[in-house]
Subunit: 304 residues, 2 copies
């Protein structure tokens, strides 16, 4: 592991041009080294985990109506980014500019559009599958990539507001979905070991909002619905999830009317890779120049 | 060219799983074929146009303060997507859910954040370069990729709200910047010819907002600041820009205080590739299966 302290490591990332600060917490540009690492990671995940899967990519925005059906704003209202737009005429525009030039808030004429920022890569997958009609008996296996947004500005560089997520999604009968998650848990651990990263598999819960959120999180833990593969970037801090393994039971199937041929509501699970976090872990572990990483890691990532 | 009509072509894209409609105009997911084509295009652009350039990627959101400095909301207020977020407590959250469940507008508690959706891939580049201090005498050459957003819902599938843009950006002395644009205009035409696409180079202008917008557009044309490489997807409709070649004079340099060593404000130019549009043109021209495209095109794209 790079021996310098954690803050020194972050400064060196910026100094080496690997990361480009934007001035807003949790929003970074990528320089050459980070582009090489994240492209290589995405390819390695595709080769290793995408076998037999249907591939999809979605834009960073998705229909508000789908988000409403899924119910995200009930449990994570504070994390949601909503796309607002100006729909006024010439006169409203002049008013807006006057406000701006007087140092006032010029955004109040921006109204909610029919789009929100995608909070998880798998969210647009379920409506796309539901649009096909009845789920076939063997279900679906989908590999999906998207840039996601969660409103949690933080000094912690592992907690980005805008980040790339790669997921493998399984939809089908409960037993198939559960077996898929078991298989991926083992495969995920092997992947991290091959990457030379120390990761710990932990029972976890989503950060449900508000006072009722604690109860919901405990319920999720009691049913063992979420596991995370966590890496300790900063020896002094809490470890950070780099992969998650989520069993949704019939949540998405019920919300989007995904039904199997026998009429049962389909179950689903998703396994997510936090691309930026895994890349940062690699830089932290193996140094600032991807081309100098251990040969086994380069071989797995097929860098160069 | 695929012989069926334009609408038939779009339906066949969806039927073949190349494109995945979201239900909102101008927001599409990508299936296997489109992922293969856009990845290959991005790689070909990097190999062909990125030689000697510094590489950057930016997220689909950028600081509102940078957008204000650039002045985008003055000229294109109607195209801007602004990121709004809920910052309330438990009680405000209960109110919001009540509104939603009563079928009312539940978005009014969403307030403008310090982020907007990135409208052009090159926008975050100028603040990043300005942060380095004085621009070196030879200037900068940057290759940048980003997913961009413009609020223009349309039935025209060439006019996406969320789309990938790849740009080559040149910052420096006026003469260098002008020469760069000249060189790229020639190179862009050769690239489209190699892709087997009929494209026409046209003088163009940006869609400035409102009544004053027409005058600004005419001024831009009079100075020949913008050229577009346009492809006619639909023989019955207007051609669509797939690349643009923009000379900004000292607009970005002045807005962001990019100065050369001699104290002069730096000039800039950018050359943009509309990745989704070029990919659609390829599907339109060469058929629905990238692996069956002409061998010269596959060779250039290095597909497979």
């Amino acid at each position: 592991m790079v021996s310098e302290g954690y803050e020194g490591f972050l400064e060196s990332l910026v100094r080496a041009g690997v990361w480009i600060p934007s001035g807003v917490q949790g929003v970074y540009g990528r320089g050459e080294g980070f582009i090489v690492a994240t492209n290589a990671l995405a390819s390695a995940i595709h080769r290793g985990f995408g076998v037999g899967a249907e591939r999809m990519q979605f834009p960073p925005v998705m229909p508000r109506s789908d988000l409403e059906r899924i119910g995200y704003f009930r449990n994570f209202p504070n994390l949601l980014g909503s796309v607002h737009c100006f729909c006024g005429d010439d006169r409203a525009h002049r008013d807006m500019l006057k406000r701006h030039d007087a140092g006032e808030d010029w955004t109040e004429q921006h109204l909610a559009s029919d789009l929100v920022l995608t909070p998880a890569a798998c969210y647009p997958v379920y409506p796309a599958l539901a649009a096909r009609g009845t789920t076939p008996a063997q279900g679906y296996l989908v590999e999906v990539q998207s840039t996601c947004f969660r409103r949690e500005p933080s000094v912690d560089p592992m907690r980005l507001q805008s980040f790339d997520m790669h997921e493998i999604v399984r939809v089908g009968a409960a037993a198939d979905v559960v077996a898929f998650r078991e298989r991926l848990i083992a495969q995920g651990q092997a992947f991290f070991s091959q990457l030379g990263l120390d990761a710990v598999m932990s029972l976890a819960n989503d950060p449900f909002f508000g006072r009722a959120g604690g109860v919901m999180g405990q319920g999720q833990r009691d049913k063992a619905l979420k596991f995370e593969l966590q890496v300790a970037f900063d020896p002094a801090g809490a470890p950070t999830a780099c992969m998650s393994f989520n069993y949704h039971q019939d949540h998405f199937g019920g919300a989007l009317e995904l039904r199997l041929e026998d009429g049962q509501i389909a179950h689903s699970a998703c396994v997510g890779f936090g691309i930026d976090r895994i890349a940062l872990a690699l830089f932290r572990q193996h140094g600032l120049s991807p081309r100098d990483w251990p040969i086994d890691v380069l071989d797995l990532l097929a860098v160069l």
